[in-house]
Subunit: 188 residues, 4 copies
Amino acid sequence: MSRSLLTAADRSTLAPNWNVQQWFNADDGLSLQQLRGRVVVLHAFQMLCPGCVSHGVPQAARIRETFSPERVAVVGLHSVFEHHAAMTPIALEAFLHEYRVTFPVGVDTPGTDTTTPVTMATYRFRGTPTLVLIDAVGRLRAHLFGRAEDLIVGAAVATLVSEADRGSAEISFHPADATGCTTGACSA
Amino acid sequence: MSRSLLTAADRSTLAPNWNVQQWFNADDGLSLQQLRGRVVVLHAFQMLCPGCVSHGVPQAARIRETFSPERVAVVGLHSVFEHHAAMTPIALEAFLHEYRVTFPVGVDTPGTDTTTPVTMATYRFRGTPTLVLIDAVGRLRAHLFGRAEDLIVGAAVATLVSEADRGSAEISFHPADATGCTTGACSA
Amino acid sequence: MSRSLLTAADRSTLAPNWNVQQWFNADDGLSLQQLRGRVVVLHAFQMLCPGCVSHGVPQAARIRETFSPERVAVVGLHSVFEHHAAMTPIALEAFLHEYRVTFPVGVDTPGTDTTTPVTMATYRFRGTPTLVLIDAVGRLRAHLFGRAEDLIVGAAVATLVSEADRGSAEISFHPADATGCTTGACSA
Amino acid sequence: MSRSLLTAADRSTLAPNWNVQQWFNADDGLSLQQLRGRVVVLHAFQMLCPGCVSHGVPQAARIRETFSPERVAVVGLHSVFEHHAAMTPIALEAFLHEYRVTFPVGVDTPGTDTTTPVTMATYRFRGTPTLVLIDAVGRLRAHLFGRAEDLIVGAAVATLVSEADRGSAEISFHPADATGCTTGACSA
């Protein structure tokens, strides 16, 4: 089941880069490229989304505590697609302080001519909370909308960690294919 | 126990009026005077206070659903004493929408030369969440800081409702004493 | 609401006595008569009923802690109507020990020619958990089947305590009417 | 972290067989041998242990639902070490029915001259709930006493499933070593 949760389909498609306007808990910013070699758990949320506050954000914090930072990177993404005037970066900063969020959180760059922010559009998030799992070679492997159970998420992350352990020989990764995948056009 | 929770001490002291800058879910505003005859549950919170979001606000909503609106009024008070730039009225409006808060909520008027808002200072709230119970003749009868248990809160509110049922004869209420109690100076 | 929860209908009908085979946490047993003057919270449960274990029993313990024992008596009743071979008194004793139940618990006397125990039949319990509230003069005032919310239960108990405080003058209690109410025949 | 949770130490030591007096949900019984090729989650519990009822048993049911039965076997073990007269097989049967437990559950064989049952002694369980993870080649890989978090358990089970996927070549399994491991003497 943890297995079927993980996309195997187009294994050569890299996850698109995120487009972040501003970072918290990561002074110099953070790119997917930098995290190559680690499994990446990307948690997209909105600070005023009840399901994110009660479930998604605490779950991301638990993932951060459960796995070694050297193997698994947890990255928050504040993808605001409603109440833009309320969920500003300054409001987010207060939220992160009050909820003791210590993992890196990027502010998804607002869209032009649309309420949907750029990374959300790129990844085709259906809403928040959304959990995206990216394997150690940068491929998007799972995309979960809504409340994902800890047991399932733990299993999925560990499966990707185990895959990474097997060594590069087994993993067919073609950087050439990836080149064509720009932030604006690559579908999840 | 529900009994000892309720202050009997200075039974002639009226609860001070609240000082509200702006109302949500109450077009014409709401004064303590208007609510005379009903038990008033005043719930002070901040939209980015974790204990308010997980416990206080849902509890206030349950109180609203449990007791008859003709006997018990539930009033929210957004008493912001930190992160003022984040918890603006426009952010609060989005919060109330997302969390389906339908009872009246007033924005505690910001203080001058202090981060503490006016009603918070008047009532001497220690922080948020705070639950204040005011009886049907307007006296402050309980002041609970932190997470109050449903069983205790239900008992306390019902005790005040029962008191109100006994009739005015038994309740010694002296408006003269109350006159001295201004918004800025009266202690809880 | 707490008000309408409480039966006012036939205010002269006394709650029937319980019929108990064996007591735990009450060496000399306990009769309704002895508890006259106190509000009685009768919690009927089965030790293998999931809703009793997760909700009813802990709630009864919270009621015990919330109200003064001089005003409110909490009494458990083990009303076994299924799995009789499993839920024996010796099994119940272990259950009460493991779940740290310290309030008095009576074993409802098994029925003859029926799986339903005697008190359960007398009170017409629909099942477990059931919460029965009996006022200070011995009248059955509320009968709640299933999971009752703490806010509502706290309000109902406190209302009965407040009633008791008003004094006997107001309460019309006719022991004559009660005499006709035998354990086997009196309906709730 | 999921990694360090799993014992790697003596990788050639097989988990000892369990010693079961009676099975529920498994007409013909179930041996560790039969489950070779699958990861085995052995959940030791007592039906009157509060932590088992609220946490362990529901977690075992979630594990059963999360992973494919072809890859992961969930087996309950009723290891009664106290209140023996209460937690009889007939009481357990009622418990399993009421709590909708559908995975196989074995009754740990009572000890002679000791309150500790045989499998519990063999595995050196510290108490209940205990979760034991056995890999696809039969080696004991994790031993968790108390409340284990879903995220961690999900990760550990998935890691063992991933290991099994790698193929036998990598796994050094020596049946000769295992032979010496009898039910009564082999330590966990």
